[in-house]
Symmetry: C2
Subunit: 539 residues, 2 copies
């Protein structure tokens, strides 16, 4: 159990029940099943080697349901990783991973030299060393769909190597932040606006900033007025307000497949059923949208037409009208996310869906976080007029208003033309990094790995040979010192194992070249392993 990190106190291990180590296994071709005797009865464990679910995840899930059912009571000791590995005929690392996943979720707890014990999920010591019995928080409130996270999260939570090249996180490079320039702007705001910049602001946001945004959008052919603009705390809050206002529990939300995982998880947290709609190199497929709607009505379509996250695709202009018409026919509201639409490195500005929206069915979402500072938490929604009042009310409920000081600063920064100047610098840097990435991939990647260079944005989508699972590749890549986002993260209903996403805008060209060399090495290792072990499990 040396692999376990110890967190949590031993006083949680109430009445440890020894776990019986008599295990009777009934082998079959691709399945391993077994029963385990414990005080409270027999436990069944089943693994399916042909499943898309990694073995460690299957084992963790099996143990978790035994804990949930009470078959494995609080305090019970789990068998050792060595024992379980032998009986289930899996690598010991698989068992360790399963245990680590359960520990990260709070189901089990490791004690030094004592083994692994079942604890109350989420349970921790009572505060203040109090003597009263702990309040049963787990019984309060609606069930929280976000708590039952996919085990991929566990892999992603593991700490990377110190010197890792990180192709994760679609966020701008802090090295480019114009911190000094912004310091001058903040100083000026506080000198000129004084205390007024520190008071409560309007719920819809600072009028001057909304006017600037409306004018900027109008200049791009997106008719907008300031009263349709709502300032929010980054695009995440924009999405949250949309979900809260328009998504009903049990309702259906359509998202591109693949799509931004924080987006569809958010909709799931409101009780929505998420269905993926097929995409290709030209973005969302209108035919796939029609098919999805033929299966039943939906409340919302969440779509990123410009430099889609994760694929980097741009929606073909000839697809916009069919999408709008299909949506109108089915009373499907559209949330169009322009998270990095300004980051164009090549060719014309792609066309937004909202520009052709004549019915007022599109909500447009944007942010300053991808071109300027995420730490200000400023984004915006452009709303169809009938929604404005509802959204302002919901924004007030959520947090009254966004911070006024940072809105004043952003407004002055934009009106001085500094945003556009900064955007040019960011575009130039990102363009060079994208070129460095493409060149390195051409040079380093073994045959069978494919990609299509985007012409803007922050994300780069790759496809692996059939025998490689990107989650397994990530384990190898991490050891070699490079991080990326496995494709399965972006598929709401499973799949994506052959894909991975690289974000290249936070690393220098030199580090990009190092990262790609390491990644190519990891791919070669995995390909070699794939040849040795064709029906290869996760580890």
């Amino acid at each position: 159990m040396a692999e376990h990190s110890i967190n949590g106190a031993a006083n949680l291990l109430i009445g440890a029940v020894p776990f019986a180590d008599s295990l009777g296994m009934a082998p079959s071709s691709s399945h391993r099943t077994g029963t385990v005797k414990v005080d409270s009865g027999e436990l069944g464990l089943a693994l399916d080697r042909r499943s898309e679910v990694p073995l460690y995840a299957q084992l963790a899930g099996s143990l978790r349901s035994q804990i949930e059912s009470g078959a494995l009571p609080v305090g019970a000791r789990l068998p050792s990783t060595r024992e379980l590995a032998e009986v289930l005929e899996v690598h010991r690392k698989t068992v360790v991973q399963a245990f680590q996943a359960l520990e990260a979720e709070g189901w089990v707890e490791a004690g030094v030299g004592q083994g692994t014990f079942v604890r109350r999920p989420g349970g921790r010591p009572a505060p203040d060393g109090g003597t009263g019995s702990a309040f049963p928080w787990e019984e309060v409130g609606p069930s929280n769909p976000t708590r039952d996270e996919d085990l991929r999260e566990f892999v992603l939570r593991q700490a990377p190597r110190e010197d890792s090249v990180r192709f994760t996180g679609a966020t701008p490079d802090p090295a480019l932040f114009p911190a000094d320039e912004f310091r001058g702007i903040l100083d000026e705001v506080l000198r000129t606006e004084g205390v007024h910049a520190l008071d409560y602001g309007p719920a819809a946001g600072l009028l001057s900033l909304r006017e600037w945004l409306a004018a900027r959008l109008s200049a791009k052919g997106i008719a907008a007025t300031a009263d349709q603009v709502l300032i929010v705390n980054g695009s995440q809050q924009g999405m949250d307000l949309v979900a809260r206002t328009l998504v009903e529990p049990g309702g259906r939300v359509l998202v591109e497949e693949p799509s931004y995982s924080n987006g569809f998880r958010l909709f799931q947290s409101y009780g929505a059923q998420i269905d993926g709609v097929g995409t290709d190199e030209d973005g969302l497929d209108p035919e796939a949208l029609r098919s999805a709607l033929a299966k039943g009505p939906a409340q919302l379509l969440y779509v990123m037409p410009i430099f889609q996250n994760p694929t980097g695709a741009v929606l073909a202009p000839e697809r916009i009208d069919p999408i709008l018409e299909t949506a109108a026919e089915h009373q499907l509201a559209i949330l169009e996310d322009h998270f990095d639409a300004d980051l164009v490195y090549e060719g014309e500005d792609p066309e937004p869906i909202r520009r052709r929206d004549t019915r007022g069915q599109v909500i447009l979402l944007g942010t300053f976080s991808k071109i300027l500072f995420p730490g200000l938490r400023l984004g915006w929604l452009l709303l169809p007029p009938p929604l404005v009042e509802r959204f302002v009310q919901i924004k007030q409920m959520a947090d009254l208003s966004s911070g006024l000081l940072v809105q004043h600063a952003m407004d002055l920064y934009c009106r001085r033309g500094l945003l556009d100047r900064h955007l040019e610098r960011v575009r130039a840097t990102n363009r060079s990094r994208l070129a460095a990435l493409s060149a390195a991939l051409e040079r380093e990647m073994p045959e069978g790995v494919t990609w299509r260079s985007p012409r803007g944005g922050m994300t780069f989508w790759m496809t692996l040979p059939a025998e490689i699972d990107s989650l397994a590749l990530l384990q190898t890549a991490r050891r070699l010192g490079v991080e990326f986002s496995p494709g399965s993260l972006f598929f709401p209903n499973g799949g994506g194992a052959r894909h991975l996403r690289l974000c290249y805008v936070r690393e220098t060209e030199e580090r990009i070249r190092t990262g790609v060399a390491r990644l190519a090495e990891a791919v070669r290792e995995e390909m070699a392993r794939g040849r040795e072990e064709p029906a290869r499990p996760f580890v």
Copy 2:
């Protein structure tokens, strides 16, 4: 119709149907009922002079349900205010008020010299002058309980006189904001932290600020560790995250009666049923809590034990244990709101409930908005350990994290001791203002008006003689140049007409004296009117 302000375009008035002006009324003692013939049938209108609901609100409600049912179709012209006033035997102002309320809610629209027309609720012109039919947003999403606002809101939305003394809004005086000091702090943060202060921050908030808060709470006898502190965008977001995590649709939330209206409206917006629990000058009554729980289970108790908003009461220390025990017995979670607990002007610091919480059943909510700057939008939650992970996840869903730059600045401001120094200044100013308010009330108020001076906080609660309704008083007071919050705002289930709340911390002593003189004049006017017209309607 000169009283109507004109907003909105005439192109909304699709196929105006003339409103028949044949009205047949059936008078009774305290009721006025009448029927109105229109193309689509007959409309019934009923007013009850003995109801607590103001007449204008009854009329607006009656017309609104006719519009909702379709009996009054889109485009129908309403009869003139003069006609309706004659037939219903009410003052014409009552009808004008009803029309204004409907207009503010988007149900009707005034055209210059044309009268008032029914329009689609919330309907406005399609964006971009588009030619397609408008998207039916009103059919998308869950029904929104916040949209059907009480008509009190309408009264409160009316613009006050330019020179009005404003005893509304429990917010600090911007004149006291240490803007220059804070400018220096921000400058220092950006010079020392540089770009790191502008990047994404941790979802739970800046560790250093959480440590400072935990140490400060611990120094006050509230055992706290940094990992139990979650930084949020002001206490409104704190409440929102609590509601989102712990309140289920159809669940029951107990609040003090009276209580902070944005609080219980927020819980209502999550589908909770709100029940008031009786309070007196010693705060929440434990007996009333027991009675409320005897009627059925509840999920959450929302309580402000220290300088309660609106009453200013402090919870008596001997009530804390009974409240905690009753809550534990009924698995009732407690949200304790310390919105202005630091604003002590006299005597010892009042005791928080959380200090005696041995079971971990209390969530503590605090904010910087009431002592420093609301415009930063910074507040915090102190969470029982089993809730931490759930809340961090929900915070991430809501907006990823609070702004990092302002957290760095607040952290430095606090660690330099500047918050405590500023707090002393605010306390001294507020103490003098409270004294000025008390003295002026003693001097000016006619007999029959009563109050109990608080010893801290921002709010001052008054009780009017039985014959005065504070909503009616507000209309008179507004004319005389003074604003306050009518008591009915703070009662979730009706009542409170005899009370009003004064917030005195945003006005100077001289303006406070002027305001009280105007308020006393308004009270005398209303008392005189009350004697003339005992069963007096709202206007």
